[in-house]
């Protein structure tokens, strides 16, 4: 198992009038080559900033990467010059965004937008690149791609635009693709088409995928490993199957309980289990565990000391004082 991306103690902070917002605060993560790693968390937990930090696209100022390391195949991305980083983006790491409506340029034909990446990174001529973009459109399942390359984004539906985004992202066969909520804006039937497509293209190209989402269903369906993020940190990390069969962190357990499912929990009086309270503000992080005010299993250590990531069983890491000998 080769590691394609290794993140160690990554910290991304934003300087604001109200103080320093620690959006990503000490994240360790490994993505195995050719596999899909899921990152799941609620809004404001820092998952998008994590992706932007890997791409070095954090708006600066106010944002800055305050420390840590991001190794892509052993190469430190945080030390690269902006010029070198531009060669990494699109060729080695690419990204698809949540909003297929706003992430395509409305004044260029989609063929040109796909061709642009290949012209930049693979030294193709404009004509060759346009021919390749027809091929890419065919691969992502757009019918009659020869005529569709000449369309503008507004002529396509949301699902088709997201297919175009995937075509752009995979045009140069990158080693890693970051997908930030790629299906959130889409209907379930289109979401199913999209997850199927990403999975199929991934096994063809051998690209690793980091799938960022708030939807545990998507995680269960499409990932091999998963990291749960809360208030800027990874709180649990394990193979996906194990996370769902034996979740450890009280936050993970709470999240799963609050998902209304198609299966049980239906009677007229059935209530969902609820995580009380809300996420702490990231510019005023409490001492001790970040989840302590919402945790049902709190004890004295939680109030004083910040928990550390420990390996509870092989490959299953959790950041909680409940596990291990600390109690």
């Amino acid at each position: 198992m080769n590691t394609v991306l290794e993140i160690t103690d990554l910290r991304t902070h934003f300087d604001t009038e109200r103080g320093i917002v620690r959006a990503v605060d000490g994240v360790d993560l490994k993505a195995v080559s050719g596999q899909t790693l899921g990152v799941v968390g609620e809004s404001g937990c820092g998952k998008t900033v994590l992706a932007l930090s890997i791409m070095r696209l954090v708006p600066s100022p106010p944002g800055r990467i305050a420390g840590g390391s991001v190794l892509l195949n052993g190469r430190e991305l945080l030390d690269l010059s902006p010029e070198e980083m531009r060669h990494v983006r699109g060729r080695e790491i690419s990204m698809i965004f949540q909003e297929p409506m706003t992430s395509l340029n409305p004044v260029f034909r989609i063929g040109e937008q796909i061709a642009e990446v290949m012209q930049l990174h693979q030294n193709l001529s404009r004509r060759e690149a346009l021919a390749c973009s027809v091929e890419m459109l065919r691969k992502v399942g757009i019918s009659s791609p020869e005529t569709r390359v000449k369309d503008y984004p507004h002529q396509m539906s949301g699902g088709m635009r997201q297919r175009v985004m995937i075509a752009i992202a995979l045009a140069c066969r990158p080693r890693l693709m970051l997908a930030d909520e790629p299906t959130t804006a889409l209907d379930v039937t289109i979401q199913a088409q999209m997850l199927d497509l990403i999975g199929r293209l991934q096994s063809e190209t051998g690209t690793s995928v980091i799938l960022i989402t708030h939807d545990l269903g998507v995680i269960a369906e499409a990932t091999r490993d998963v990291a749960v993020m809360y208030a800027g940190q990874i709180v649990e990390c394990s193979p996906t199957r194990e996370l769902f069969s034996a979740p450890l962190h009280p936050y993970t357990v709470g999240l799963m309980g609050s998902m209304p499912g198609l299966g049980g929990s239906t009677g007229r009086n059935a209530l969902l289990s609820v995580i009380p309270g809300t996420v702490p503000s990231l510019c005023n992080i409490p001492t001790g565990c970040r989840f302590k005010d919402r945790c049902p299993d709190i004890f004295s250590t939680c109030r004083e000391k910040e928990p550390v990531m420990t390996e509870n069983s092989t490959g299953h890491f959790v950041r909680c004082w409940k596990y291990g000998d600390y109690r």
């Binding site: 088709m160 039937t189 088409q193 939807d215 769902f244 609050s258 499912g261 969902l272």
Partner: protein
């Protein structure tokens, strides 16, 4: 509890539109295209469908925020489409709405207390003293602190804003609540809080809900009966359990199988629908689902299927007996 609170017959809403830039062609969007539906007293009827299927328009028609092109709506046996003025105001006291986006559905220049009590100011202007008491009562009911009444919407989180929206909808003691995607904009943990609150309120206040959503998990959890909508029509209607466990219409089946299962051990082979929903400006001939249907037979593109009862209480609009 088996009596009808709201009865919809043959309801249609067509929106005219102009064609492309300068071309001036005209067409009609058939947003709601012949809906028959009954909402029973005290139940939660889930209305589920993908974006553009007309579910929001249907909710707005019931509220009389849109005027229907054709059809009838009766509330507690009385026709409400002919109501005007004071009579319409009386109807709106009994039917209230909770909106999707808690960020844009609250006036940013009003305080939480002002927003919650505004319906009272409109409907019962003579109640000056009682208004504040009623408002603080409602704030407690939905789990807000009384001292938060002087705060403005931007000072609240998404979940709290949705609580304000719910309090505003409840302050007139309505009988029917139309909830249009009330939890779609919220995180799962907050969504669970709001769903629980809505269930509790239903029991305490004997409310009837029309719960509009695209999320099948939410609709299954909340609803007694579920209606599935596709391209302006109801294609399946039945008890929540029957529709989710034994879906009969091919579209419902595909919709349910597209929902990711929260169990990585049972990644089932899904029926993935090809293509996308056709435009409601040019719906296909015959059954509007036939171009995407894996089970279509020859009659499907010629004749429109009607909603017929397959099992007691389980209605399906499909030519085949599946």
């Amino acid at each position: 509890m088996n009596d009808t609170l709201l009865e919809i017959r043959g309801l249609k809403k067509y929106f005219p539109f102009r064609g492309g830039f300068l071309s001036g062609e005209r067409g009609t969007i058939r947003a709601v295209n012949g809906v028959d539906l009954e909402i029973l007293r005290g139940e939660t009827l889930g209305l589920v469908g993908e974006s553009g299927c007309g579910k929001t328009t249907l909710g707005r028609l019931i509220m009389r925020l849109e005027e229907p092109t054709d059809g009838s709506i009766r509330f507690a046996g009385e026709d409400i489409l002919t109501r005007k003025g004071a009579a319409l105001k009386g109807y709106r006291r009994m039917v209230q709405m909770i909106f999707q986006d808690p960020y844009s559905s609250l006036n940013p220049r009003k305080t939480a207390g002002g927003i919650i009590s505004e319906p009272l100011r409109i409907h019962y202007p003579e109640w000056r003293e009682k208004r504040k008491a009623k408002m603080t009562e409602l704030m407690a009911v939905v789990g807000l602190d009384e001292e938060q009444m002087t705060r403005y919407p931007h000072e609240f989180s998404g979940g709290q804003r949705q609580r304000i929206g719910i309090a505003r909808a409840l302050i007139l003691n309505p009988r029917l609540i139309i909830a249009d995607e009330p939890v779609s904009a919220l995180d799962v943990s907050i969504q669970a809080q709001i769903l629980n609150l809505m269930k509790r309120l239903q029991q305490d206040l004997a409310l009837t809900y029309l719960f509009i959503t695209h999320d099948l998990g939410v609709v299954r959890h909340m609803s007694d009966r579920i209606a599935v909508m596709y391209l302006g029509k109801i294609v399946e209607l039945g008890a929540g359990e029957a529709v989710c466990e034994r879906p009969a219409h091919p579209y419902t089946r595909a919709l349910i199988s597209a929902v990711p299962v929260i169990d990585p051990m049972s990644r089932n082979k899904r029926t993935i629908l090809t293509g996308e929903m056709p435009s409601p400006a040019a719906p296909p001939s015959g059954c509007s689902f036939h171009p995407r249907c894996p089970f279509r037979i020859e009659v499907c593109d010629r004749q429109e299927p009607i909603l017929r009862q397959q099992n007691p209480g389980h209605w399906v609009a499909c030519h085949r007996d599946i």
